[in-house]
Symmetry: C2
Subunit: 315 residues, 2 copies
Amino acid sequence: MDIKHVTVAGAGVLGSQIAFQIAYRGFDVTVWLRSEESVDRARPRLERLRRTYLETLEAMKTDTNAYSRGLVDSPHVTASQLDQLKERVERAAGSIRLTTSYEEAGRQADLLIEAISENPDDKIAFYEKMANHLPENAIIATNSSTMVPSRFAKFTGRPERYLAMHFANQIWRRNTAEIMGHPGTSKEVFDEIVEFAKAIAMIPLVLHKEQPGYILNTLLIPFLAAAEQLIVDEVADIETIDKTWMLATGAPVGPIRSMDIIGLRTMFEIGNLDKRAKDPGSVQGRIQRMLKQHIDRGETGVESGKGFYSYQKRV
Amino acid sequence: MDIKHVTVAGAGVLGSQIAFQIAYRGFDVTVWLRSEESVDRARPRLERLRRTYLETLEAMKTDTNAYSRGLVDSPHVTASQLDQLKERVERAAGSIRLTTSYEEAGRQADLLIEAISENPDDKIAFYEKMANHLPENAIIATNSSTMVPSRFAKFTGRPERYLAMHFANQIWRRNTAEIMGHPGTSKEVFDEIVEFAKAIAMIPLVLHKEQPGYILNTLLIPFLAAAEQLIVDEVADIETIDKTWMLATGAPVGPIRSMDIIGLRTMFEIGNLDKRAKDPGSVQGRIQRMLKQHIDRGETGVESGKGFYSYQKRV
């Protein structure tokens, strides 16, 4: 595995987590941002991640539930080892470079992880521009949740060195990387990214073929849509729906609480991808209307203190 | 709650469990069976349940994992209390009456639970015949998994006293009862069945409206169908698919192992309900072909020692 210098494009919720985790695992990280305003938004996000990583490591000294697989390989770890890992957090926080320059972002990159907005035109423009500044051997990985890599491969200047690597929110805890090539991705590049995923403490989840939604969202989206249908058709109370799933499968949460965790804005965006949602009388249309009503009231899920359920606000 | 005498029609896998659990909880139970051959098949099934209940209660003395909510209200129970419950098992096993007579089955019943084969014509013929032998005030509940009660209400002679009460396999452990009326079910009857569910140590899961598949299968079927699509499209290895779900949601099993537990014959029957499965080139058609190949090789799931996964045969 020859990857040493990594550039992450975009520092939204996931981009900032990806950058921080990679730096934490000892790689040299540059973050590319579209504008100085984006830089100003990125700094406090990275600072919050620094605190979250430090607090999580501290909590692991006394609370077994705090264990986060992305931070340390085993839950059996001493307080002094955790203190050493805190130093690693500080080094990571101090080492990440932010830039708006394509040239600076591209020059040294062995791997570019694209985590910019889910807008295809923006992605194409970004790839075309960045292609001129990357070393010939650089690999490009997209973190896109909703678009498959074959859609963009030809704009990257290196289709055989382009693939998707999809992270989960709260990367330090939910340390999975779904890895998916397009038909033209070289096996060598694919394998190198699997190795890289392990090196940054991710569990690689290998896809053999392109699949919109990868594995997780392919399973999750129809499951959550079924729960949404039960809600809009008023078949049962939300507590009953969740309880049914938890009792039958042993899962720690049901689908409706899961949606509150994912966030109702995200659920609404996913719902809009379904063309049937345009018909206001369809199940999908009624689901979108229900979600919009929640969002308009500020009930966007756990984060806001209220979604389908009410949550105690964090103090 | 005025229910004392309960008749269970049918003693297949679920019918026998329903009858045994109700007798275990102290109700007077008659089992109606279509023929003497059915009676001969029912006896060893009930005998196996007697042993399973006794073994589970014995195991609960030393193994916290053996705890079964249908057998005792709390896991904090002494060995002598468990021995008393074993006596209750013996009394239940000795008390269940089997009959092929409609008259004998109907005469005293406060509640008739219909758990015969999932064939609509059989159900209609049964309801029409039994209606003549039941007391006027008797309630009828169907355990049908696939058909809604409005389809049969008019054949029962008491549509307002008819509804669905749907149990899970391994009733003593997975002690849920999904309770669903049709538009004509009286509220009083519905509430009485909720009370009855509690009295037989079930957790009642209340549906406000008719919904094919109730709550659980409404959630489960599209979720499992998505996993089947990932398999037939060879998107990822079965272990990876299950691991993705377990890591992301904290669930104790993934969808593919769940299908092995449910059984591939049942999955095949569910798949046949989807009209698209008739087209062999469709995803649904390819899924049915894959399931049939497993079934033809005797790989029907956990029960046979092999399904999608291999299992150690029980000795």
